[in-house]
């Protein structure tokens, strides 16, 4: 449907080309999501068996039990903290990469992406090796005669581990959004009397906001939905929506409740996306 498509063949071709992706999405995303939605209104038995009865109890239960509202708040809060930390850690790297040219850029970009070649589970165990009581950091502290710190199996460990795991995504998203950031603009700012710091706040940062918003959306969504890393690094003490869904579905076998919580996560995503769309238009 591009303006340049000649004749009536353009739109037809575009529709034809969109059919495969639409079919795949319908089959593996929309249909299962719809089933989850339906399941959230079904009464389950304690054994995990599903009945034919429909009920609102799964939803009303969420509002009645303060555990779930706290779960929602803490999940969103921790994900926001993770997103913010990931952004702060990734922004300078992305800016440097954006300015780098040639071989240096290629090598550094590969280095940034390379963690994605390893599974998040492996990297999570790596963090356990580094942060646990007998791990690298605490051994160093001990050697220096400093008191040991509890760095893992708490919220702090989850935040640190997830931030590192999400950094490649954030960096790639930032780079994708840095399109308007031209080195000439910084030079122009300098000729007009702007010190590097002023040029950063007045020119570089505003122009990088599309990348920042894209990266934050992506990392927030990934943080809210991650469950392996929070489970391992949280040591069973950190409760999040995603880990709770996992527990309800796999451990307790309460599928209707897991479905309901999944719908809550989907609503959070929807809100995040709406917020992003609004911010991106400004």
């Amino acid at each position: 449907m591009s303006a340049g498509a000649p004749g009536a063949r353009g739109p037809m071709l575009a529709v034809a080309l969109l059919i495969p992706i639409f079919a795949v999405n319908a089959l593996v995303f929309f249909w299962p999501t719809f089933n989850l939605f339906k399941m959230s209104f079904i009464r389950g038995e304690a054994t995990g068996a599903l009945t034919d009865e429909t009920t609102l109890a799964n939803w009303t239960g969420l509002f009645r039990d303060s555990f779930y509202s706290e779960l929602l708040v803490s999940s969103v809060t921790i994900s926001l903290v993770i997103t913010a930390l990931t952004l702060v850690l990734s922004y300078p790297i992305a800016l440097y990469l954006h300015r780098a040219r040639g071989l240096r850029r290629t090598v550094l970009l590969v280095l940034v992406i390379s963690p994605l070649l390893t599974s998040a589970v492996v990297r999570t165990y790596g963090w356990i090796a580094i942060l646990s009581d007998g791990g690298l950091v605490n051994s160093l502290l001990k050697a220096l005669g400093l008191p040991a710190q509890r760095l893992i199996f708490n919220t702090q460990g989850v935040v640190l581990g997830l931030a590192e795991i999400l950094m490649p995504y954030m960096i790639l998203a930032l780079l994708a959004g840095f399109g308007r950031l031209d080195a000439r603009l910084e030079e122009a700012a300098a000729t007009l009397g702007a010190r590097p710091r002023q040029a950063f706040w007045r020119v570089v940062l505003p122009l990088s906001l599309p990348g920042v918003m894209l990266g934050c959306l992506l990392c927030f969504v990934l943080a809210v939905s991650s469950f392996i890393t929070p489970k391992l690094l949280g040591g069973g003490r950190v409760f999040l929506l995603a880990t709770e869904i996992y527990d309800q579905a796999i451990v307790t076998l309460n599928w209707p409740l897991a479905a309901t919580l999944s719908m809550v996560v989907l609503i959070v995503f929807g809100l995040a996306l709406a917020l992003y769309a609004r911010a991106a238009r400004l």
């Binding site: 031209d182 007009l192 009397g193």
Partner: protein
């Protein structure tokens, strides 16, 4: 030009470059550039791409560091002063307007950096907009402007800070031909009115010759000649300048003193040399008469003469271009069509003559 002379009398220009050099590894992008520019002067840096003109400009702006040499403005050494303290307005080839700011915001930026009062900023932004005839477009974003309008905003943004020096980096190369002519006149007009000391980087010799007080011709990182457009055209200092500025005939020959022998005829040049040389003469300086008869010796000094035969004749409106075979070479000759003389036809025998004073001679690497 008055500014240039008074500055020259003081020994140093308003802008003074001494031995300015930029090396990248073993390669010298700019090699030992020294020149002086007077206050209020418009000087072009002219040369082919890669000649070092933009590198020189960027060193003057402080955007790249000089490997060696000195940059001074009004006696103050700026060589190691950061860009943001140099007080130079620059117009970039790509304009480099801040896309997230309005036109007025772009103009106000430099004034805000100078911490001027709000009212003063507004007043000067309005003035600058009026200067480039964009009063009505202050609220637009750069993306909503045409190329010519963006160009004006870039110029206004550089001028609104009242810089000590205005630097223009190929400012017209992204405009179409018609707009370029208009902007040429407009830039020159504004520059003259504000008496802004200006450096204009261009690869277009017409731009350099028609707009600028003086032109610095650069080649391979070195300054070939700095002079007025007339100097470059009538008194080129090197073979490069002679061939780069305007069109010219090049005749390879061997010189003995100021005499060159060419197919049995002796030609004389304005200076003397020994060994392999190139003789050069501009096509419109050659007078051409039909037949073998020698034309009357003109009273404006001694002339060179060659007899030849018209090989090609091309009508180009105000000019008739000829290629004439003479002494075994093809020479370009231009004649004005003003006189309604019937053009000479291919095959006709002609006599060419031109002043010895118009005959340039440059040594040629053998």
């Amino acid at each position: 030009m008055a500014g240039a002379t008074s500055a020259d009398a003081a020994g140093e220009g308003f802008l003074s470059l001494r031995g300015l050099t930029k090396r990248y590894g073993g390669f010298a992008a700019v090699d030992d550039l020294s020149l002086d520019i007077g206050k209020g002067e418009l000087v072009a840096f002219l040369g082919p791409s890669g000649c070092g003109k933009t590198t020189s400009l960027r060193m003057i702006a402080g955007l790249i560091e000089a490997s060696a040499g000195r940059i001074a403005v009004d006696g103050r050494d700026l060589t190691h002063v950061p860009t943001y303290e140099r007080d130079m307005g620059m117009v970039f080839q790509s304009y480099a307007l801040f896309p997230h700011m309005s036109v007025a915001g772009n103009l106000a930026f430099g004034l805000e950096m100078r911490k001027l009062a709000r009212a003063e900023i507004e007043r000067r932004v309005r003035e600058a907009l009026a200067l480039v005839h964009l009063e009505a477009l202050g609220d637009r974003k750069p993306a909503q402007l045409s190329g010519g309008q963006q160009q004006r905003v870039a110029l206004a943004r550089a001028l609104v800070i009242r810089p000590s020096i205005l630097l223009l980096d190929e400012p017209l190369s992204n405009l179409d031909a018609k707009l370029r002519d208009d902007m040429r006149a407009e830039i020159r007009d504004i520059q003259t009115r504000l008496k802004a000391t200006t450096i204009f980087v261009t690869h277009d010799q017409m731009e350099a010759l028609t707009m600028c007080d003086r032109v610095a011709v650069m080649n391979r990182g070195r300054l070939e000649q700095l002079g007025t457009p007339e100097d470059l055209y009538e008194r080129p200092a090197s073979a490069f300048v002679a061939t780069f500025v305007g069109r010219i005939n090049r005749i390879e020959a061997t010189a003995e003193g100021d005499v060159v022998r060419l197919g049995g005829e002796a030609l004389r040049a304005a200076r003397s040399a020994h060994g392999p040389v190139e003789l050069m003469v501009r096509p419109h300086r050659i007078e051409m008469s039909a037949g073998a008869a020698a034309p009357p010796q003109a009273q404006d000094g001694p002339r060179n003469m060659l007899s030849g035969r018209v090989a090609r004749s091309v009508f180009a409106g105000d000019l008739q271009h000829y290629e004439v075979e003479a002494a075994g070479r093809l020479l370009s000759v231009e004649r004005s069509t003003v006189s309604h003389e019937p053009p000479l036809r291919p095959g006709e025998a002609v006599t060419l003559s031109w002043r010895v004073a118009d005959t340039f001679m440059f040594e040629r690497a053998s």
